[in-house]
Subunit: 155 residues, 2 copies
């Protein structure tokens, strides 16, 4: 597999966790481990509320999840996605070979497909150069109707 990342992705993110947290004088807490646990069991982006809902109730405050996601994002352990509804969604980095990827979302059932395809790099380069921009990246998500929802008349 073509992956520019140097770390061993087969290692569970939890293994990296200790080291990465230590660097920043951060602690390994029950809440953070539990959050990563939920993310590890779901291969698609989740909202903070969804993560909260998948934790045993009373186990972790919603505010703690918001704070944890900021931290985990800074540590590059999770990636933030935006499906256009103004609600942040997070996915574990390493669940897919490369951190950068996109999604195909069903507008009926909200089902998500993880995509390998990406915006052509050399076209992005051309756009950047043509406009004098540097460090150009992109946000890209696809929306459509999945096979199942095409059949169901209602919904």
């Amino acid at each position: 597999m073509n992956c520019a990342c140097h770390s061993d992705h087969s290692a569970a993110p939890l293994d990296d966790l200790t080291g990465r947290l230590r660097e920043g004088d951060r602690r390994i807490t029950g809440a953070r481990a539990r959050i990563l646990d939920v993310l590890r069991r779901h291969s698609h982006p989740m909202t903070n509320r969804e993560i909260h809902g998948h934790l045993p109730r009373g186990t972790c405050d919603l505010a703690t999840i918001y704070r944890s996601m900021h931290l985990l994002e800074d540590l590059s352990l999770v990636q933030r996605f935006d499906f256009g509804d103004g609600i942040a969604r997070f996915e574990l980095v390493g669940a897919h070979k490369s951190g950068h990827h996109h999604h195909l979302i069903c507008i009926k059932c909200s089902g998500v497909v993880e995509l390998e395809e990406c915006f052509p790099a050399e076209l992005e380069q051309r756009i950047a150069r043509a406009n004098g921009f540097t460090s150009v990246t992109h946000k890209l998500e696809f929306f459509g109707v999945c096979a199942a929802c095409q059949k169901s008349p209602a919904r």
Copy 2:
């Protein structure tokens, strides 16, 4: 360029306004005309708060702008964009040749460049087919550092 849009966007939006509103038993009101006026003077996506700020104060309530944007969006007179910060932005359809287009946004100064380039249509087709999806569209925005901001050390 690869643009899947079939409609003719060259007609001025205001000309369409009367007809389109009539169809739905809607009125042409001062507030709506004023909002379109502001949008016509700005070629980049604006937030509702920005639109509100550009209107003579006391002229139009923020709630009215929110309601108007929903209406104008339904009538396809305005297009909604999402720059990833959870704030809706709107741009007049017809300000650019094709309704469907994307932006290149400076992460330092928030400057916006309107782009002609689009995600390759036949690659999108392939993604749709490979996953059994139909009616596939996409949201795509680019982020980088503009020429001016590359020079200014601070900021």
